[in-house]
Symmetry: C2
Subunit: 324 residues, 2 copies
């Protein structure tokens, strides 16, 4: 939550002159986007985002993100397109950083979704998966099942125990189970991979945008269902499952894309994997972020509680309708 690279108004105005988007009227650094520096620009023709990519985004991945969003946009998914300048360039350098001008989408991120909104998210994820079936870009998942053990090792047993007693044992037991039972036979796809409420824009109960595709990668398609379900269907501290939200989201996806029985039968492991992925990345960030830093550390244990929930076959049966 910060602006890492300070861009002067003169630099922004000169940057905009490459584009046919009007002249600068307002320019504000936005306190969102852990990975990048984001500015909201107003010109006499509309609103735009200026994103400067910081060290956590590999510039070599930018063509993948550009092509993906262009493909999704053509397929009428509600995503923000990269904007090309007069010469057709969509990737620039600004203040020493790779920088792009990106379409602005109206809408707000809800913190307490209602079932209509959850259904809309499931539908939009289904539409996204249908659209990317014809997209041939690829990007390896650097946070997939084969990386989780190394991530746990990087956290370290004692640091994990420092977060919660016996957390390390629990993590390594879960890793053993997931590595053994991971449903590698399921179809792959490009997934969003991080479709939390923060990354969805709503106008009332209507979805107006899916944003922040910087974790998009090639992965088991249904892993995206698991991530999105886990991200939306709980109180944010993970203590309460919200059945109306979970059911609406799952049903919305199923109505658009369909979920076959083979996928449903594998979902318990995908749900658990999704929880472990966010548990581990949050543990890593927790351990490596000073408590007094001006970034919000997200509580890893909120995903341990979700992991507990999905580890109970009766709970998963309520979601998928299939006996474990």
């Amino acid at each position: 939550m910060a602006v890492y690279t300070l861009v002067g108004a003169e630099d922004a105005a000169a940057f905009l002159e490459k584009y046919e988007v009007g002249s600068l009227r307002s320019f504000k650094g936005i306190a969102e986007g852990v990975e990048n520096s984001n500015y909201l620009l107003e010109t006499d023709k509309g609103h735009f985002f200026l994103t400067l990519y910081e060290s956590r985004v590999d510039p070599d991945d930018l063509p993948f993100f550009h092509d993906l969003l262009g493909h999704l946009k053509s397929a009428e998914c509600k995503v923000p397109a990269f904007i090309a300048d007069r010469e057709g360039n969509w990737l620039q350098q600004l203040c020493g950083r790779p920088a792009c001008l990106i379409e602005f989408l109206s809408g707000v991120s809800v913190s307490q979704p209602n079932p209509q909104q959850a259904r809309a998210v499931g539908q939009a994820l289904g539409e996204f998966h249908l659209a990317v079936a014809a997209f041939d870009g690829q990007r390896p998942n650097s946070l997939g099942v084969s990386q989780w053990r190394a991530l746990a090792d990087k956290c370290g047993r004692s640091a994990l125990e420092g977060i919660q007693t016996e957390l390390a044992d629990r993590v390594y037991k879960e890793l053993d189970l997931l590595e053994k039972n991971w449903p590698d036979h399921l179809p792959l796809s490009v997934i969003h991979g991080d479709l939390f409420p923060d990354n969805v824009l709503m106008l009332g109960d209507k979805l107006s945008g899916l944003i922040d595709f910087y974790f998009a990668c090639s992965e088991i398609r249904a892993f995206d269902i698991a991530v999105t379900h886990a991200a939306w269907s709980f109180s944010s501290d993970g203590t309460r499952y919200l059945p109306q939200i979970g059911t609406a989201l799952f049903g919305g996806y199923d109505a658009i894309h369909g979920i076959d029985d083979e996928t449903k039968d594998a979902l318990p492991w995908l749900f658990r994997g999704a929880c472990l992925r966010f548990l581990l990345t949050r543990c890593y960030d927790w351990i490596n972020t000073p408590a007094d830093a001006m970034v919000t550390r997200k509580d890893p244990l909120a995903f341990l509680l979700r992991l507990d929930f999905y580890s109970d076959p009766a709970n998963v049966e309520l979601i998928t309708g299939r006996k474990a």
Copy 2:
């Protein structure tokens, strides 16, 4: 540069319902305003700022700021007005903080002003001073000459020496001189007190807004000229005086408001006082902000260099046209 209080979209939408400003379409935390949490809101009727006042702004001062901006607005100064809700309330509580909806002004803050822009700033400051002559609100200056010695003591001699050798001696010698020569006989006024380029919005060479009045207070009126001149007329590191900028700014003010000889003769001390005020507050922040904090520490020595500049009578004569 941060958002300190996180406001959910639902809270923001409910907040807006009190007002006749349309319904929420977008809602972004803004990375500006050291003192407050600021959100930029888009509704179907326009753009607005939502400001939550954090601990550094005394809620008891808010009526002064509200009345001041209302007065300036009526006098056609380009300032953002506080917006009242349907029941006439302009001050609310949101997420446990005092919160206000404030008019959005287009424009950008320039980092390398040209003479036209500097002249516009001088003129706008002159218009502001003419307008507040008929304003009867008062607010003591908590960062005035009588507080500087205590501020230096709070920094501490050794910490000051840690910033630069012999800095403490220089500060205390300057304090002795300023306390002895301070031009208390000059007319008082409400001043802006912090009219740095950050706090001025421009559309091209035209001034579109003066913002961030949270240091506004009752003070020697011409101290505002000194602060503004020191803030605009140097390279930001303080190493180079920009004579075209300084002359344009001073001339712009003089053309609108006039600067009498008594004031011109006192300006050397006001310039030096303005430099010492920002030198001391920046030293204090420097000493009390961890080097790795995610806020930008502003270099105190940039104002020591300005102090050196204004301490040379020949330099001040170039600005005021009066022999010291």
